[in-house]
């Protein structure tokens, strides 16, 4: 029988300091996330230097907590997986250097993980992934359609040409004077709405799986601006709902078309925006009709966490891909296959 494999995951790519221990790539033994969001709220967004400072303060506390909650010592671990990129470089470097020092001190192999691979593998913590698989990755920094023909293989078939979906959410939220991060607030306003402003959909060229949200964002800003000029009150619910409907329709339509073209066995959604209630509902309904299993992790595994890094790290480590002590933070890292 194969021996159980325990991976310590570490994630510091943005504003959460996180550590987690995952068994065999799918069972969460412990999962600790220390969020800095309260500190960044006063700035209306994540300030990279402030984020890096918080990571140094938290990093060993968070790793220790992950070990304590799992009731484990470093000796029980098989490898250390850490987010290598993309992300804020100063923030990435804290997780990476802590991971390197920890791996070195305890004689453990080190595995560098792509943050988006992590978001995708969050699904492995919920149900076994089946291939070919289509992943819709929607977060503050990413909007991508990724096709996985096998475990550890990634093909980018579409991506945003300008703003990421989450970025568009946050910018529209600012127009409505909602607190940061705005995504959940727009989601709530949209769900409570009894109407919707009709905003355009960006389909791009025929057949393209790429996305664009900057036009939609501008349309929202113009709408608000024009109303202001005329001295009219806008209905924030209607505006939020109109925006959200446009985002959801484009995301769902393109995901469905790709799922059909590549004949996938499973469709998954990942990333912070996958926490969106409206999006989840429409995707669920769409793929139920289509008879393709659709999954989205619980919200706590959609936003940044280290369990997803450990899960992806487990697959990469099993494929024999390890890093060494010269690992560096790679803010623009591309999603490469490891199988």
């Amino acid at each position: 029988m194969k021996k159980d494999q325990y991976i310590l995951g570490i994630e510091t790519s943005c504003d959460e300091t996180a550590a987690s221990i995952v068994k065999n790539g799918h069972e969460i033994i412990s999962n600790v996330v220390s969020s800095q969001i309260e500190s960044h709220k006063r700035f209306g967004g994540v300030v990279p230097e402030v984020a890096s400072r918080h990571h140094v303060e938290q990093i060993t506390i968070v790793i220790e907590e992950a070990l304590n909650q799992a009731n484990m010592t470093p000796k029980d671990l098989d490898a250390v997986a850490v987010t290598e990129g993309p992300g804020l470089v100063g923030a990435l470097l804290i997780g990476i250097n802590a991971a390197k020092a920890f791996a070195f001190a305890n004689g453990l192999p080190l595995v560098g993980v792509h943050h988006i691979a992590g978001h995708i593998y969050a699904n492995a913590l919920v149900q076994p992934m089946e291939f070919p698989l289509l992943a819709l990755v929607v977060s503050g920094g990413h909007t991508e359609l990724v096709l996985m023909k096998e475990d550890g293989q990634f093909e980018l078939i579409g991506e945003t040409r300008d703003d990421a979906a989450g970025e568009a959410y946050d910018k529209v939220a600012r127009v409505l004077n909602l607190p940061y991060p705005g995504g959940p607030h727009i989601d709530r306003l949209a769900n409570e709405s009894d109407g919707a402003v009709p905003f355009p959909r960006a389909w791009l060229e025929e057949g393209s799986y790429d996305f664009s949200f900057s036009g939609l964002k501008s349309a929202v800003i113009n709408y608000q601006h024009n109303a202001e000029q005329r001295g009219e009150e806008i209905n924030p619910n209607h505006l939020a709902a109109g925006f959200q409907q446009s985002v959801i329709e484009v995301l769902t339509t393109k995901t469905l078309r790709a799922a059909r073209e590549f004949n996938v066995k499973q469709v998954i959604a990942a990333g912070g925006v996958a926490a969106n209630k409206g999006l989840r509902k429409v995707l669920e309904e769409t793929f139920e009709k289509e008879n393709i299993p659709f999954y989205v992790p619980p919200i706590s595994l959609c936003t940044d966490n280290a369990a997803m890094i450990a899960a992806a790290g487990n697959s990469k480590f099993s494929a024999g891909k390890t890093g060494d002590m010269s690992m560096n933070g790679r803010p623009g890292l591309e999603l490469n296959s490891w199988n």
Partner: protein, 229 residues
Amino acid sequence: MIWLGIDTSHTPLAVSIVKDDQVLAEYKSSLKITHSIGAMPAIEELLKKAEIEPHEIDAIAVAKGPGSYTGVRIGVTIGKTLAWTLNIPIVSVSSLQVLAGNAPYFPGIVCSIMDARRSNVFAGVYENGQVVKESHMSLVDLLKMLDESGNPVLFVGMDVKIHWEQIKEVLRDKVHQANAAFSLPSAAVLIELAKEQKATEAHTTVPKYLRVTEAEANWMKEQKKNGHE
């Protein structure tokens, strides 16, 4: 007693292993290699050469800043993670004091500096081994202060040459410049200083930046303007 010392607070990288009163091995460079790429391999290689296993290390000394924010954080993160997981003490020492420690027998003031852009420097001023000042300040103010003291001054640090003309102009024949051999921090010096100072808990060991972030400074200004301090 085996000490591992790490200084990544500025461009130079310094790593050293001191066993009791003997410097076993030392690494020092001013090559422009990112510390994230260079520091851990240097530590790994030095320990390997000295045939010391990580769990044989008894204490960590780390330079806590000021300096490059990212640089300081890399050293402190490595140091505190090693100290925590190996369950050994960590002592963090001012990076400016480490630099000044290159000139222990100078009769007068030793001033270590690192360039902080826009005519500012991180400056450490020491007399008879005592700290007189460690701060982020304009070079003009620093030179004025040193000039008023009337004592001879020795400048240390690889950024001295950037400002040497201006320094010389103000302090004239009272001022000296440490030569190239003493311009880089030494982690053995760091360890010797650490031996004299108190250990901190690994979890609470953090860099000393000597500057708040720009975002926080602006935010505090806003708060004051809006009347709620």
